[in-house]
Symmetry: C2
């Protein structure tokens, strides 16, 4: 959680609301702790999709992270943020041909192919460019008998190549041996997983798959991308992962396999787990009203900036973790209040019947765990509000890493209207 309430109030006063605030120091500590538990047996690659801010990516690079991109836009931003090609991998089930061409030009560490069709195009593009290209393959597992004896995976998926088709894939590598360099494998078995056993099972399955590829096909993985999926608790019924034990277990597991696998590069992807708890979204209460006996707080920020907090895609409509920072020290009662954003739609619901100190205009609402899947996951154009400022606090300095938006931004790429002259009726008013 970035800094304390006093700091947040100070920043809100200085920069205005709504705003995202990231705690770079906490992020650094968090990253360093994870790396110390992993004992350098693996590298952490930041999943760029979790937060599209250039400076956050740049900061993570400065700590030593690699990056996983999933579009050419992310690829070019990663380069801008200081990632060298060797620290970039490119995944995604629907890469456009131009995106593949660009990734080959940049000679990134590897492109993760998700289908035979894509692999063929990668090879043809590289040939055309007179280049060799490093390619990993994402595998959709046949079925995983977990450590807890529960079967996972095994479902049809648009992601990755069915494990049963590995032979055909390696035939393709053979057919294009002058062009395609087999770099290794990638598996990713779930998101927001809060069960250590499931995570360890999936990593073990990936490691065993790498062993099997070596034994059955004689191919050595130079990279084994274990994926990620490390969850964080958002709601009361969720228990956090025991990170220290988990990452130490991961390190031990990797060490048990690394010699048999000829010491490949082990990659762990991390987006939400890395960032979510290092960022908050701050929005000020503008109006307090009472409708038919029920109190409503109306904030200046909402779903256009932070869709995830408004129940997006969740069947269980729990309230996101949040706290109200009062602007005065007067003691007030804790009461159930419904909090909405400024949008003209019932979907802009920040929290329903949340137990919080009685709100007043000027109070600051702090939406916690908002460092990942915040702004980038939100319909920023909806209803024409400006995008929020993003502030990074790091080593005693404030960095405005995204300026507050302006109404003019809405005109981006829009062409001027053509239809003014067609108006015929008279202005009578």
């Amino acid at each position: 959680m970035p800094k304390n309430d006093m700091t947040l109030v100070e920043k809100a006063n200085r920069y205005g609301t709504p705003m995202y605030v990231y705690d770079g120091d906490e992020l650094k500590d968090h990253y360093d702790r994870i790396m110390s538990w992993l004992h350098q047996s693996a590298e952490v690659f930041f999943s760029f999709k979790a937060n599209g801010n250039l400076s956050i990516a740049s900061l993570l690079r400065s700590f030593g992270a690699g990056i996983e991109v999933a579009s050419v836009g992310e690829l070019l931003m990663a380069v801008k943020a200081g990632y060298s090609p060797q620290h970039i991998i490119f995944s995604g089930p629907g890469k456009r041909k131009e995106e593949i061409d660009t990734a080959i030009q940049h000679q990134i560490y590897c492109i993760i192919a998700e289908s035979k069709e894509e692999l063929t195009y990668i090879a043809e593009s590289a040939k055309q460019q007179g280049k060799q290209v490093s390619v990993g393959i994402r595998i959709n597992p046949e079925s995983i008998e977990s450590r807890a004896k529960i079967k996972m995976g095994g479902v049809p998926s648009p992601f990755g190549i069915d494990e049963s088709k590995l032979g055909e894939v390696f035939d393709l590598f053979q057919a294009y041996e002058d062009t395609l360099l087999f770099k290794g494998i990638h598996m990713y078995l779930g998101t927001q997983v809060l069960d250590e056993t499931s995570l360890l099972s999936s990593f073990e399955y990936t490691l065993n798959t790498a062993v099997r590829i070596k034994n059955e096909y004689g191919l050595t993985c130079q990279m084994v991308d274990l994926g990620g999926g490390f969850g964080i608790p958002y709601f009361q019924h969720e228990t956090p992962l025991h990170a220290e034990r988990l990452f130490q277990d991961v390190a031990e597991m990797i060490q048990a396999y690394e010699s048999e696998l000829d010491f490949p590069r082990f990659i762990i992807e991390m987006g939400r787990f890395l960032l979510a708890e290092c960022g908050v979204y701050l929005t000020a209460i503008q109006y307090v009203k009472n409708s038919k006996g029920e109190p409503f707080l109306i904030a200046d920020g909402g779903m256009h900036h932070h869709q995830a907090m408004t129940f997006r895609g969740r069947l269980l409509r729990n309230n996101y973790p949040m706290r109200l920072i009062k602007h005065s020290n007067q003691p007030v009662d804790v009461v159930k209040q419904t909090i909405v954003g400024p949008l003209c739609t019932p979907e802009d619901l920040i929290g329903r019947q949340v137990e919080l100190p009685q709100g007043e205009p000027g109070d600051l609402l702090c939406i916690e765990k908002s460092g990942a899947y915040g702004l980038c996951y939100s319909p920023t154009l909806f209803l024409g509000h400006s995008s929020p400022l993003e502030l990074l606090l790091f080593e005693g300095d404030d960095y405005i890493i995204r300026d507050r938006g302006h109404p003019e931004d809405l005109l981006l790429k829009q062409n001027m209207p053509f239809f003014k002259q067609r108006r015929v009726e008279c202005e009578t008013d």
Copy 2:
């Protein structure tokens, strides 16, 4: 539905995919038909939130529509699109003070106040600016006995002012009589309503409320905003409104009230009903793959451009209306196929087990009814893909009303990273 398949293929070939295509001629016909049924007894105000494109707004202005904005960004775009102040109303439960100040400066037709607190601020701001301001009030109805004898409304809401508090509101108008001009009332009782009786009941309730305000408070409404809520059918079980009969009924109802109400301006708001069926989203199939016996089509467009099609916020996960336009004339079987977009997330699901002609790369997927709540409702920054082109076809001309985005757009408002120099480890690869 814009034009025929041949036209869509031609446009996709010329401008590329993914793309939104709007049929301006169909929009004009649709608008004109609605107006002919209403017999000029009411004005249609476009709800800008349904589609944030400047040129669409401008085109609608050229047909004679007014506009309902809900942020200062929308207000400024409306002015740019050619709306005179007299054709602009401004609603929304959480207007910021600067937004109210700007609306007063522009002397728009009226600001719709949604709380007593807001009304007070409007008055104070106008006083400060030495101006009078026209204000309507949105009313949250006590409870509506519908024509079908079903009670509606009556729930606590962040929108509008409880009907039971009208007296207090009019006291405020009294207190600020030199500043606040009471313009009228606004009620909006539901969205995506497909039942004519409910719509008519809500309009009748609004009209009766205007009568009651006249009788009880001696205040004449110069404007009665009936709201909207006209639905369109997206899914098989939904029946379209009988528009002709409905709007003729609305016209008759208005005519029955207009003399008693001293001939106010009657406003009907329309977003989805006006636009949804005049636009499509076109995306090309890039890859076809089979996973464990199930066919997947992977398109070049997805939820970052058109979130509504990916089940957002719907408990019933029906498929959006769509058709596949084959690029060859070879007859193929109709089979169940799952269609996904290019994003690295299972949420980017366009359709599940949709019965369509067997897809191949190069086929064009046409997502129908996409003229409203398309691009503006989508997390355009998510995963760093460029925004789609928007094309308007009107009177034989093609208008590119939004240029295709570019990866550089992602950098908008972002400041350059500061952290390059902090990297200490060596590049070993």
